[in-house]
């Protein structure tokens, strides 16, 4: 009887322990339920925990604060240390479920039970409320605010209970999930004082001891030696598991060395000191010669590499009125688009690793998803280069070489046609069609593109003088509208809400015609309307609107789109599996999926 009692007592204790564990989450720091990674996300299949990889960052982190504006290296680190409520595009991440209301103006989210930050602190609704109300919407915090506003208001965040969050919106907001994926959830316990004392912007600076930094990302900071390296170790409380129940990340450690020089990073990769690299096109040959793997993925659609003609060139005091009249002509800009030899630029500037483009790209693949794309001007983009057509358009505009010096002139007929009075202007023989084309000093592809453009322009009697200037100077000139023509790289993540600043007539980066803010053309009015309305439209409506937007921009050519660079990665395929690529140069996509191929593998073989 006594033995039976003891057994029953042990049974009770066991039951108690199990129920306590169930209440607090799963053993091993996992929440309940954990996020189970779909098999299709792991191209090399589930793995086992272990191993470490080395990767080079191009610069020091300026801060470990993931909210304030930062450089690419800080962002790359933040992506490994932190996570948001969602994963791009709208997959629930640290939340177990989310329920949008029928009118999409209210979303209820339920956090995973037993979820913990990387230092072991439990995550509750208070942390979500803190992140949004006290940090992201706080006027004292240097973080973007406009992107969160719908009809001029911030979303309302409230806690229904410890694990349930409610978000109320003044109107439907399609971009919400994307933003919730982009911004990380922060531990209130570690940062509340900084907010209270109004020093959040300097919180988590580079001197912060690693154990004072916590997040929901797959790794946590173990060591930072400035100028040399960061060591990130597995977050034992990470919330993802694979189909076999193995907790992610697979890797024990990621070592990020600070190596500023592009060539040194290539040497280190060739030498086997690092496992991944974003090579420049010119590095590809040497990497392939060494027998190392290179992967080229389709051209990303979001970055825009463009020529831009300043249509306010006279209003901003950097060019004569006749040049402004020329730049304002849609036919002239269309002619310029025909002069841009995109295929040659891809071949010479990108060593063939790119795809031509004739209009703006928004979400990945969007440009090609518009059903009426066949009707878009400048489509297909590889057929745009046509000097004959460009000459014809310029001739029709009466921009012809009147003084036979090989350079076209802005004729009296042209000025009369566009209604520019000629009094006080020099005679047409002195009004040469000539402009200054600025480009980024030291950027090989930008300078090369500008030179190719200049040479093609010379063939049709237009003179461009290529002037490389430092990056900061170029941006300053663009933002002040004090340039004639520029070759610019516009980097974006494809979020339609983030291009408003460029294409909206009142946008800060509307640098081709800031005067649109006072007086705009009909097509620009239509673009403005689309950009504002798409924010609160349904998905179908938005798709149609953005297609219309792309057609409008392609037809009116405010920017001359050139190409998209291919996504090129060099990675040790013989050693690592489940590599999902890099964003920019240094952000590792889904680092938690990376795993070691224990016995090594042959190219195209399986990762054992």
């Amino acid at each position: 009887v006594q033995q039976g009692l003891v057994l029953r007592l042990w049974g009770l204790i066991l039951l108690l322990i199990l129920s306590l564990q169930a209440a607090q989450g799963q053993p091993g720091g996992l929440p309940s339920p954990p996020f189970v990674v779909p098999l299709e996300d792991l191209p090399d299949g589930p793995g086992v925990q272990g191993g470490s990889i080395n990767f080079d960052l191009g610069d020091e982190p300026e801060t470990f604060n993931p909210i304030i504006p930062q450089g690419e290296s800080s962002r790359a680190i933040a992506m490994l240390l932190h996570a948001g409520l969602f994963e791009f595009p709208n997959r629930a991440a640290i939340i177990e479920e989310f329920k949008p209301s029928q009118d999409d103006r209210e979303v209820t989210l339920r956090l995973r039970k037993g979820l913990k930050f990387s230092n072991g602190l439990p995550v509750s609704c208070a942390d979500i409320e803190f992140t949004f109300k006290d940090v992201l919407f706080n006027p004292d915090v240097a973080s973007p605010k406009d992107i969160w506003k719908v009809e001029g208001q911030f979303p309302q965040i409230s806690c229904l209970d410890e694990l349930t969050v409610r978000i109320d919106l003044p109107a439907r907001f399609l971009g919400l999930y994307r933003l919730l994926a982009e911004y990380p959830i922060l531990p209130k316990q570690l940062l509340a004082n900084a907010v209270k004392e109004k020093r959040f912007n300097t919180a988590w600076g580079i001197e912060t001891p690693p154990d004072q930094i916590a997040g929901l990302g797959p790794f946590r900071l173990r060591q930072y030696i400035r100028g040399q390296r960061l060591v990130l170790e597995r977050n034992p409380f990470y919330w993802k598991v694979d189909q076999k129940g193995t907790q992610l990340p697979y890797l024990d450690q990621i070592t990020l060395s600070i190596v500023r020089d592009d060539s040194v990073r290539v040497l280190r990769y060739l030498n086997g000191q690092t496992h991944m690299l974003r090579p420049r096109p010119e590095d590809i040959k040497v990497i392939l010669e060494k027998g190392l793997w290179i992967e080229v993925q389709g051209a990303g659609m979001t970055d825009s590499h463009v020529f831009v003609f300043n249509q306010d060139v006279n209003k901003r005091g950097v060019g004569p009125i006749w040049l402004e009249a020329v730049f304002l002509s849609v036919s002239f800009r269309q002619a310029m688009s025909h002069v841009a030899d995109r295929m040659r630029m891809i071949s010479e500037s990108l060593f063939g690793y790119g795809e031509p483009r004739g209009g703006p790209g928004i979400e990945p693949g969007f440009w090609f998803d518009c059903q009426n794309r066949e009707n878009f001007p400048f489509y297909p983009p590889d057929k745009i280069f046509n000097l004959g057509k460009a000459s014809q358009l310029l001739d029709q505009l009466q921009l012809v070489d009147t003084d036979k010096d090989g350079i076209r002139n802005v004729t009296d007929t042209f000025l009369d046609k566009v209604g520019i009075p000629r009094s006080g202007l020099p005679p047409e023989d002195q009004r040469e069609l000539e402009f200054e084309l600025i480009t980024v000093q030291g950027s090989k592809h930008s300078v090369s593109d500008a030179e190719i453009f200049r040479d093609a322009l010379a063939q049709i009697g237009v003179k461009a003088n290529v002037v490389p200037v430092p990056f900061n100077a170029l941006w300053d000139l663009l933002l002040k509208g004090r340039y004639q023509v520029a070759r610019v790289d516009l980097i974006s993540d494809g979020d339609p809400n983030k291009i408003i600043d460029i294409y909206h007539s009142q946008g800060r980066f509307h640098f081709w015609k800031y005067s649109d803010a006072q007086k705009r053309e009909e097509w620009q009015r239509e673009v403005d309307e689309i950009l504002l309305k798409q924010k609160t439209a349904t998905a179908d409506e938005r798709w149609k609107m953005l297609c219309k937007f792309q057609g409008n921009v392609a037809e009116n050519v405010p920017l001359i789109f050139l190409y998209n660079k291919s996504d090129i990665f060099a990675w040790r395929k013989d050693q690592i599996g489940n590599f999902k690529g890099l964003e920019g140069n240094f952000v590792i996509r889904y680092a938690e999926y990376l795993r070691f191929c224990k016995a090594g593998r042959k190219p195209d073989g399986i990762c054992p």
Partner: protein, 314 residues
């Protein structure tokens, strides 16, 4: 000294404003207008120019050199954290090696004037001065890569091998650090010894022709004593003065090498600030550079007084 420092920082402050763009240009692409206004207020960049400078100066006198516009870290942290020790090590070792190599070669060239030794030293020093420091560093890097220097414990782009980073001090660690230091040191010293040797040669030649040395030689003083005890002491004056201005040249060389071989020095972070037009970090760096220059000159003056009993300061 203070007036010089004040002048340097004020001119630098005005010069920075003349450059197109500002440090917020990098932030501009990711932040909205409200954020930028906030950052400007936070850093005091919304105030009139003169007021910005005066505020910075008053705070600097209290040891607060302002904050960087990226990451908002204090300037002293941006410039020195994890960097001062490498700058100091590199500068100290460069100074030591430059004199260890430049001094005997300069003396030898002067003493054996117009001999094959003189010609060889002259040719080598001309070559060393003509080759840009960054090119030497790049070539060395390539040589070490091609010769698989990793087998000796050398790792490209690091100040020590991975296994020693964060590890406790040991002879092996020190050895590894010195091994990694060899490349930047070689590249910098190559240019520095040549300058010293040439200066010394010409100064020594002037002194060796003086009549008091001819007299000593006639008295039977040995050539060794003549050169090392009498001539060198007098010839070294211009070199001591030169030392005061040697620091900017060292700064320049260290910067080029730091960029090429990824050596985390104060010079590199200063250059980063200039590139990013990070106003307060530049001012902080310039104040430091000015201070070093002024202190260097002071030490040179004291050195002159020590070397030449005829010079006395009142």
């Amino acid at each position: 000294m203070l007036v010089v420092l004040l002048g340097v920082t004020f001119i630098a402050f005005l010069a920075i404003q003349l450059l197109p763009g500002d440090c917020l240009t990098q932030v501009l692409t990711t932040a909205d207008q409200e954020t930028i206004t906030k950052i400007k207020q936070e850093l005091g960049l919304d105030k009139p120019l003169l007021l910005q400078y005066v505020r910075w100066l008053l705070n600097a006198l209290k040891g607060d050199f302002g904050r960087s516009c990226l990451g908002f870290a204090p300037v002293t942290q941006v410039l020195f954290l994890g960097a001062w020790q490498w700058s100091l090590l590199l500068a100290g070792m460069t100074l030591l090696l430059t004199w260890m190599i430049g001094l005997p070669l300069g003396i030898s060239a002067a003493v054996h004037r117009d001999s094959w030794r003189d010609y060889t030293i002259q040719a080598l020093s001309t070559l060393a001065l003509s080759v840009p420091v960054f090119l030497v560093a790049l070539l060395l890097l390539l040589v070490l890569y091609l010769t698989d220097a990793e087998q000796w414990g050398w790792t490209i782009g690091q100040v020590m091998a991975d296994r020693y980073l964060g590890a406790p001090w040991s002879w092996a660690k020190l050895g590894n650090i010195l091994l990694h230091l060899a490349l930047p040191l070689f590249a910098i010293v190559l240019a520095q010894w040549a300058g010293l040797a040439r200066h010394l040669r010409s100064a020594l030649l002037d002194v060796l022709n003086q009549s008091y040395l001819q007299a000593a030689r006639a008295k039977g003083v040995s050539e060794r004593v003549l050169v090392y005890k009498h001539a060198l002491r007098n010839a070294i004056h211009p070199l001591i003065s030169w030392m005061g201005f040697w620091l900017p040249s060292l700064f320049e060389s260290t910067l080029a090498v730091s960029i090429v071989i990824n050596y985390p020095t104060v010079e590199f972070y200063f250059w980063n600030a200039i590139k990013g037009k990070d106003v307060y970090t530049i001012l902080g760096g310039l104040s430091l550079l000015g201070l070093i220059l002024v202190v260097g000159n002071l030490l040179a003056d004291l050195g002159l007084a020590w070397a030449d009993p005829r010079i006395r300061y009142e």
